[in-house]
């Protein structure tokens, strides 16, 4: 969409005004500085998804739109988790992080901060393996996506 103030609120406003659900939303400028790319995850029947697609197309700030789920695609989300890592837990948390191919990117004598990238369900699974009492803070980026193969969302 156009990389302009207000473009994002038009999209968000459309979803709230028409009662559609936003599960996650990410947005950032692209290599073309006049454009930004917005990835939004929503759920609905085929009819609702068709309406959402048409309504988004009508927004003048929306330049091009692609439903990723219409073809093979890759979804990734990045998560930062700060955990209490004291005593015996330090080794266990390091091992768990390795199993999920996470990286420990910050360490104090009481905590680890773990970076983890993957599809949403992998991040969910990692959080489930942690005891809730060790979790200090969770930051998730929201889903980014790209089509597999030659298909691309490009002007």
């Amino acid at each position: 969409m156009e990389n302009e103030a207000g473009a994002l609120s038009r999209v968000a406003g459309l979803f709230s005004a028409r009662g559609y659900n936003i599960e996650s939303l990410t947005v950032a400028p692209t290599e073309d500085s006049s454009l930004s790319r917005l990835t939004l995850v929503t759920r609905g029947t085929e009819e609702i998804i068709e309406q959402i697609t048409k309504q988004l197309h009508k927004l003048i700030d929306v330049v091009k739109l692609m439903d990723m789920t219409e073809g093979p695609h890759i979804e990734r989300e990045m998560m930062l988790v700060k955990v209490l890592a004291e005593g015996d837990r330090r080794n266990e948390l390091k091992r768990l992080s390795d199993i999920f191919r996470g990286r420990i990117i910050d360490v104090t004598d009481k905590t680890y901060t773990i970076e983890l990238t993957g599809a949403g369900d992998k991040l969910d699974a990692f959080l489930q393996t942690l005891e809730s009492s060790v979790i200090v803070e969770v930051v998730r980026s929201g889903v980014s996506g790209i089509a597999r193969g030659d298909r691309a969302l490009k002007l």
Binding site: S9, G13, H57, K58, I60
Partner: protein, 564 residues
Amino acid sequence: MELTGADIFVRSLDAEGVDYIFGYPGGAVLHIYDALYRQDKVQHILVRHEQAATHAADGYARSSGKPGVVIVTSGPGATNAVTGIATAYMDSIPMVVFTGQVPTHLIGNDAFQEADNIGITRPCVKHNFLVKDVNDLAETIKKAFYVATTGRPGPVVVDIPKDITADKTEFSYPDKVHMRSYNPVLIGHTGQIKRAVSLMQTARRPIFYTGGGVILGNASESLTELAKILNFPVTNTLMGLGAYPATDPQFVGMLGMHGTYEANMAMHHCDVLIAIGARFDDRVTGHIEKFCPHATIVHVDIDPASISKNVKVDVPIVGCVDNVLKVMLNEIKNNDVHSDAVALQEWWQQIDAWRAKDCLKYDHASETIKPQFVVETLYKLTGGDAFITSDVGQHQMWAAQFYKFDKPRRWINSGGLGTMGFGLPAAMGVQFAHPDATVACITGEGSIQMCIQELSTCTQYSLPLKIINLNNGYLGMVRQWQEFFYQKRYAMSYMESLPDFVKLAESYGHVGMQITRPGDVEGALVEMLKLKDRLVFMDFLTDKTENVYPMIPAGGGQNEMILV
């Protein structure tokens, strides 16, 4: 030569061919008002409330086909305009609304008369712009008119901070603008059009269901020609009245909640439904699960999002309505396509049987004035040739049922948003667009009071409007629902302490008349029409408990009408 933003604004409007701008001054737009004062090409019409500025521009647009133009100041000026903007948005009316804004460096500081005009209007505009640099002003105005008038039309807001109107730059108005993300589809899909035509050929119980899109798309002639060739019945939505001549025998009346019995029954029993420039509004469909159970549905609309939004459509055709209808006509003529005459004869017999119910009948011998009789008499005396605006409620339905519109752009009402207070200011806009025409506002004592202050504007510009106040002392439609569905508990629907409308009209310098007996209705209307140069306020004291029939109750199907 460098010009200020304010002068660029005025020059841009002139370049767009704007003859009237409806507005109200204030601090943030003073530079613009000064620029308007120093020229004589764009005439400013001073209303008494910003809501009326938007409705007047709306009435101007609906009756002329040209975009309506509005200017209001920041803060309350803009928020007062929102009702009119939302009204135009719901009915897809081309309008450009300029709102003043506090100077750029104060935006976000809770400055005096500051409001987030872009944020407040976002859900009820086709698009809006904040001008942040005087160098962008002319191009933004061009874009605003382009977006408002093309594709599915709608209101566009341009928010202009005060400092932008003082800044200077070279002026040049672009001939055209390109917006990479805005390219309305105009030409319908040929394959789908062929499918539609073949359905028309084999249809046994077809009907055209046509809406405001036919009027906005200037497609009335094509629609009439197509319906005539095929001998199909036509029903119009409230917004579509006039798109097909109401006095034509193939017209079965308006459809929907207060549509005719024959129109709704024909919809319910049809096997092919051809929807053109209509959007399957809930007031049209009744209960969606019961809507047109036997029909294969063709839908022509310029807005893809209107297709299959409420009702799943079998043959979707996205395109400019007039263009699509012309392609259909060519297809029919070139291939010598005929509709099924035998099946249609049977279908028309069925429709005539429904017509025989005479669903719009009312008591002609009543001792009190029947509101239907007033509208019917007005229709007779004006030869069906007046521009009629209305407000919202029972009087609106009676106007729609009893004034037969043979031409498009003659019936001006707030269909989608249902805005009380629309009628009088809209009529002002119509009169500016058509100075010599008879413009009547059919209203009620509830609605008229919502923008009554505009009687003053009418005095200032000598607008000879004819106001038909169907005064039953109640918010009639609310009262009717309370009678039917709330065991006659008339909560807040009785209007106490009404003004003396005759004296009120006179205090503004107009003519007022009160009519209390059925026998005086025609004579009073004749007298009113003779007063060509005066605004005449006709206060008809009508039957207090008359209801609008027929009616599809909420949750009912189109075949489940309450008849009188």
